[in-house]
Symmetry: none
Subunit: 435 residues, 2 copies
Amino acid sequence: MMGRRAAIVAVGSELLTLTKVDTNSLAITDVLNALGIEVAAKTVVGDAPDELAACIRMAVERHALVVVTGGLGPTEDDLTRDVVAAVLERPLQEDPALVEQIRERFTVRGLAMPESNRRQAQVPAGGRVIPNTRGSAPGLWLSHDTGVVILLPGPPSEMRPMLEGPVREWLAEHGSPAHLMRRVLRVAGRTESGVDARVHPLYTPWAHEMPAVTTTILASGGVIELHLSTVTSDAEAGRSLLDGKVTALQQVLGGDVVSVDGRSLSEVVGDLLRATGATVTAAESCTGGLLTALLTEVPGSSDYVDRSAVVYSNGAKRDWLGVPSDLIESHGAVSGPVARAMATGALTHSSASVAVAVTGIAGPGGGTSAKPVGTVWFAVADRTSSQVHALCCRFAGDRAGVRRFAALTALDLLRRHLTGVPLTVDWRVPEAPQA
Amino acid sequence: MMGRRAAIVAVGSELLTLTKVDTNSLAITDVLNALGIEVAAKTVVGDAPDELAACIRMAVERHALVVVTGGLGPTEDDLTRDVVAAVLERPLQEDPALVEQIRERFTVRGLAMPESNRRQAQVPAGGRVIPNTRGSAPGLWLSHDTGVVILLPGPPSEMRPMLEGPVREWLAEHGSPAHLMRRVLRVAGRTESGVDARVHPLYTPWAHEMPAVTTTILASGGVIELHLSTVTSDAEAGRSLLDGKVTALQQVLGGDVVSVDGRSLSEVVGDLLRATGATVTAAESCTGGLLTALLTEVPGSSDYVDRSAVVYSNGAKRDWLGVPSDLIESHGAVSGPVARAMATGALTHSSASVAVAVTGIAGPGGGTSAKPVGTVWFAVADRTSSQVHALCCRFAGDRAGVRRFAALTALDLLRRHLTGVPLTVDWRVPEAPQA
C-alpha cells in the first residue's frame, strides 16, 4: 500500500540556473494528486554526487514514494542511476535486452550506438524497467523495504509518456482507495478576469460543500482553463458531482467554452471540420506559419488541411492571393479590407470550404499611433455562404506573445464560425470598423 | 567568509500545488550568482513542522549559506521562525522596537494591530533584523558557527526589496569578490552523445584546473547546448579563461557550432541571410508552417522572409510549386526527387535567393517499412549556383517531436548551406540515395 505523501527530486545543474526551470515536478504533482497522493516536498539538485546522494537519502528515509527525474543520460554527469543504486545498496547490472533496445534506436537512424549509451542499460538489482518510447534512457521502478523510488528521464517529451502511462498505472495498482477527480474546462476569447467575474459567484460556495469542489483558474497561453477537483472515496460519485459543476459552468459561459473533455482548441477545430467534411486554408502574415502549425499538430489533420500560404510581404499577398496593390496602399497591409481580400484570395487559390486570414504587427518595430504593436486583423471567409467576417484585435505582450495570441485567436474565430457562435472576443478593438 | 555554495528553501504548501510556483528562488539565484555564490540545491516544502525542520537541518549542515523564504506571516501555519530557531537552538525573544514598528504599520491605516502579529516581532537570540518596508514580516539574518541562515518573507513584493537591498549588501561584505561567469555553445546536427564523445577528452581536465571550469551538456529541443562556468575573483580573467575554452571547443566541433554568444539557430540563420542580402522561402509539408514560424520568430525577419508555402496535400505541391504528379506517383511524396522539385518550385514561385523544402512522415499514421514514421526528406536550392542538395533523415519521437526536429534540421541545413559547411547531420539516413 502506497503512502499518501511523496517527495519529488529533479536532478540537473542547469535547473539551478536562471535559464532552465524544472517543469517536470508539476506534471508529476498532477499525476500523483489525481491518485490521492500529496506532494510533501520537492527539491532541485545539481549534478554533484554527494549533494544528490544526501537529497535522495533524506527523501527515501522520510517518504514512501520518491520520484526522481533527470540525470539518466549517457554522459558522466548523469549520476542519478549510480547514486540511487548506492543509496538503496543495490548493485548495478547491465540488462542485455535493454542494450539491444538502445542499440536499435541508433540502428534505425543508421547510427552505431556510442559505447557511453551502455550506461543507460544498467539496472539496480531488483529494479523494474519503465520503457521509454521516445528516447534511450529507460525509467526504473525500485521497490525497497519502506516504499518505492521511481527514476524518470529529464526531457519532458520522454518523461511524460512514461509518467502518464506505466507509472500512473503501477501507482494506481499500489494505491489507496481515495480518488482525486479532476475536470478541465477550456475557454477562449476571454480574459482571465473576464471569465472569473462571470463564474466567481457560481464556484465560491462549492469550496464549502461536502465533498468540497476546488476551482482554479489558469491562463495557459491565450486559453483560460478552469480546473475543478474533488477528493472522494467513490470515484463514480465524484465523477457525477463534477459533471454537474461542469454543466453549471457551461450554462454561464456558453459558446466561449472550447472543451470540457481535455481537447485542445486545435483538436476541437479539427473535429468540427471533420464532422462536416469541411476543409480549411490559412493566409498568414504576422503569425508566419504558426496558425497552420497549430492546425496540423493534430494527427490526421491532412483530412482537413490541404495548403496554407505564409504571405509575409506585400508582394506575396498580391502574387499568391491576388490582394490588389492599391488596396494595400490605401488601407495598409494591416487592415480590414486586406484581411478580407487575403481570406477570399485563399479560397480562390485552393479548394477549401473555409479560409482564415491574419495580418498584424507583431513588433517590436512597425507600430504607429493608429496601429500600435499588437494590432491584428482577422478575416474568415466561407465558400458556401460567400460571407466574409473581419475583425480587429489588439494584443499585449512581446513578439512571441502577440504571434501566439494571434494564431490562437484565429483558431478560435474559426471555431466560432463553424459552431455559429458570435465572433466577439475580449480583445476586439470596438472602434475599428468591423468590416 | 561566506562559502561559495548555497541552498534555498521556499516554504508554503501552496507552492507544492499546480497553481502557485516558487519564483523567489530565481530572484535569489540571480543575486547569489552575481556575488559568485552558486546554488547547490533548492527545495520547496509545505507547512508541516517536521518536514520543514528536516529540510532546514539538512541545508544548514551542508551549506554555509541557507536562504529561506516564506512562512514568516502572523498565522499559526507560519512556522519558519520557530523551526529555524529550534534547529539553530536559539531561544526566541520579542523585540520591543519591532513590535512598535509593526503596530505603526497598522496605526497609519487607522487599524489596531491584531495580537497575532506580535509573533512577527520574535527574534531568535543573536539574530539581526532585516527591515521590511512593504509588509509586517521582518527578515532575519542568523549567523551560526558554520555559516549564515537568512529568512525572508514569501510575498515577492516584500522579499525583493530586502534581497536586493540589505541582503545583497551584507552578503557582499561577508563574501569574497568572486564572480560566476557563464558561456553557452549551441551545436546542431549532432546527438548529445555524439557531441560528448568528441568534446569529453577536452573538457574533463578543465574541472581539475585552477580555477576550475565546469561543463554541462544539454539537449534542448534538437539543439545541443554546452554550458561552461567558472568562479573567479577577477571578472576579466574569468572571461578570458572561458573565451579560451570556447575556442578550444569550436576547433573540435567545427561547423556544427551554431553560436557561442547565446544566439538561437533562428537568429544565426537570420544574421547570415541579412549579411549577404539573401532572402529565403520555405516549402513545408510535414512541418506544417513550423519552419517558417521559426524563421519569423526573430524581430525584423521580414528583411529576409518574403513568403512560404505550406503544401500539405499532393494537389497543393502540384498547384502551388509545380511538382509533377507523376514524380509524386513514381517516388512518393516523401522522396528525394519530390523534395528537390519542391525546393526548385519554391524558387520559381518567389524571388528568394534560397529555398528549403521539407516533406516527411510525422506520424502517428502513414509509415511503411521502407519509410517509417520519422522519415523526412529535405532539399536546399540556391538560385545563384542553381544547385540543389537533398538528404533524408530519420527522427525518433512522437508527432510533435518529429515535426520540431524536422523544422530545426531544415534551419540547420540552411545554416550549413549559407556557411559552406557540409550538409551532414547525425540523423541522416546513409542508405537513402543522397540525390
